[in-house]
Symmetry: C2
Subunit: 325 residues, 2 copies
Amino acid sequence: MEPLPTLDAIRVARQRIAPHIHRTPVMTCASLDRMAGATLFFKCENLQKTGSFKIRGATNAVFSLPDEMARRGVVTHSSGNHAAALARAARERGVPAWIVMPLNAPLAKCRAVEGYGGQITFCEPTIAARESTAKQILEKTGAVLVHPYDNPDIIAGQGTATLELLEEVPDLDVVIAPVSGGGLLSGTAIAAKSLRPQARVIGAEPANADDAYRSMRSGRLEPLSAAVTMADGLRAGLCQRTFDILRERVDEVVLVSEEEIVNAMRHTWERMKLIVEPSSAVAFAVVLKNLPALAGKHIGIIVSGGNVDLERLPFASAESKAAGS
Amino acid sequence: MEPLPTLDAIRVARQRIAPHIHRTPVMTCASLDRMAGATLFFKCENLQKTGSFKIRGATNAVFSLPDEMARRGVVTHSSGNHAAALARAARERGVPAWIVMPLNAPLAKCRAVEGYGGQITFCEPTIAARESTAKQILEKTGAVLVHPYDNPDIIAGQGTATLELLEEVPDLDVVIAPVSGGGLLSGTAIAAKSLRPQARVIGAEPANADDAYRSMRSGRLEPLSAAVTMADGLRAGLCQRTFDILRERVDEVVLVSEEEIVNAMRHTWERMKLIVEPSSAVAFAVVLKNLPALAGKHIGIIVSGGNVDLERLPFASAESKAAGS
């Protein structure tokens, strides 16, 4: 197994990916500060290329490959932001990307992958079908599998968001990032604990997909059971690699309910005028719990992405409210 | 009648209001550039205090008043962004604001006015009732009426957005702003034609509320007939003062359909991850018409505001689509 990524790896990643991605803004909002009783700094990866932080890790992974490996292309199976990110990273390097997607993936996601030049292979919507289809492509093409989080180059890439955040706001007391497979939270924790050891690092997780929370409690990797959450980016479970990093560097995982996610999302849309996806709102939802430990603190929040289907928003329509009353 | 506002008045306004408002960012988006076939610079007044540019004019008007006048307070009748803006500007100066609102005003707008400390007087939802209620308050309190656009201090204040935009992007070929009562477009045109005479200034107007378009064609102030448009900020008509400025300084008013407005709004939400209200999307909708005169140009777009009711969005829901198919 490769060594765990370090701050140096994150610094190298930043250099490597800088020409290909945005340096996203850090935004503040007085009315959300009042609501939270704290001073909040939002690192806006929803304004990132491809609409999420995933392009950081994907670009770092693709550009880390030696030429002869890269030439054969990259493969992943994903129906989410990593798929589009990998397709775009491959296009930036001028190499092919094969993306295995389930037949029931949202059309918008397929279009995004195609728009970045990715070649989609559809499969049945099961994990087994996804893995076997990816394996067939790997065998046929000799391409490299780029896992969405069980990969040190991905983790180092995701950590660059926190590196930028701490450059801009060095005196953070707390950094919060959502946790799913743990790639983003691992990179966040490595960057934060190296640059600002006294900062508390918190993972934000939907109560309906709480494997990280349970794993941190029990001290061993707990399996993810059914993940029925609107936070569609947070339906994966930790792997041993990310769990090992979290256990060492993350102070706490805090759970939020579906109602708290929608509430946080609504406030961010209404007050900041920023479109954040449910998976991102999970981090702000932790702040809205008004935990005593967060009162008055300087809190950095990784706003992980902004890809939503505008035709399936979780805000009740006036019509449906009227019908229900 | 007061003299028309000048670039100097806009510069003075900028000094006066700077401590009270945001300097909003100018954003760009590669995928919207591709769609438009031009290079676009979005001046993001949706990220402004109170969620719209209206705070610029209102703050300038309130802080321009001599102390003894200001002390008596300010009055307006409005159900929109100007109401909240005036309430906040008055609070910043520590003077009372009386806001006359129709009984059917959206609850969210009333809450915003209250949140800024404005005192609401409700009236029947007719122009006559609004004006007579405002008159009664004026007589009783001796307060000053601050009209949302028929006021040179308001116009100078609204022009500060373009002043900032041109400081950041001096080489614009075109500046586009929405037009309703014409306060924003007047200030925009004065700033743009003074600082960058060769820039084309375009007003963007809903075809369903086309009095500015018709007035520019006929050369006289045409009345606004029924304004049935989702662009709820653009349902007012020009006044003589703003029409005089537009006739001299605006090159063209371009009409857009309701469908074009929704389409522009959707693209801005999806690609820029920014919440813009329908009235703001009208300006980007002009660009999406792909007019030959705009091809390849550097275009500044005043994104006027971001206040929307998330429960009444114009995007068809998956359910309603299914029901309609």
